[in-house]
């Protein structure tokens, strides 16, 4: 049990790191992006830049939340 807990903790620390808000912001944005991607026509040229901008906005929000704590 101690090994399993240590193993899980290692991967949490490795993937999520010091600030879980960044991982949460990126995951949420990509889930929303996946929903949009699934609902628009293939080859929409605006989609990639919009998703890129959304990821930058998500990072900014997570940082501001972190700073205002």
């Amino acid at each position: 049990m101690r090994f399993v807990r240590g193993f899980a903790q290692f991967w949490y620390d490795f993937i999520v790191g010091d600030d879980w808000k960044i991982a949460a912001a990126i995951a949420t944005t990509l889930v929303l992006g996946a929903i949009v991607a699934a609902s628009v026509a293939t080859g929409a040229s605006w989609l990639a830049p919009v998703l890129g901008a959304a990821l930058m906005a998500a990072f900014t929000v997570s940082l501001v939340v972190d700073l205002r704590r």
Partner: protein
Amino acid sequence: MGSSTTWGLLTATFTASFVEFVEALTIVLAMGTTRGWRSALAGTGAAVVALVGFTAFAGYALVNWLPRTALQLGIGTLLLIFGLQWLRKAIFRSSGLKAMHDEEEEFREQAEAARRAGREERFGLDWFGFVVSFKGVFLEGVEVVFIVITFGLNAHNVGLASAGAAVAGAIVVTAGAIVHRPLSRVPENTLKYGVGLMLATFGTFWAVEGTGVFQSGGDSLSWPGDNWSLLALLAAWFILSRVLVKLAPAIAAGRGGAPRRPTATVIEEAS
């Protein structure tokens, strides 16, 4: 693969790996000088063996179990999260909200903890020195492995990505063996800022391409200008980070007026 992509791949894997190797070296040096070299080197060796096994498994699994678009989404997301963690710390450090990372200080803390720890022998080794060296090298090494595999697979050149990491490792190990102390003169904070920007750029590029797996047909999304958009993404992340460096002190102070530059570190966490 064009020469710009080749150099980009080499630079990215070399720089990211270099920083990770410097951190691992500090831990091993601290254990070696305080708990004995036999245990520290045994821990390092065991970590290298574990890393080889992990690399073989992760490389096989990523190549054989995932379609290309899903691979882009998965590894792009991981790179993006790693990169933004690095960028967050770089922004805090550049804005004065977090102390600059200092390998000498890190070495002193590790060595002090090692001196305070009790002595327990297992398999003829000092267990504290072995475990701390193993964990330090394995953790930093897994990050190197992820960066090499992800960059290498996406650029269809794992060999070149591995070469970048291997050269970085050789330089750090050689320098460490010669000077026998932490490589504190390496401009680590600047390198980390640069690596954060690179990982965020490539992570954004691939994660967004990978969301195409949810479209009919499952093909990657296309960026305008294809690989040239990497430069635009890099510029955008850089500009955003500089803006955040300027605004962070004021946001931390809870007001939008004149920024207040704290003299003390207000963000306390691991390096």
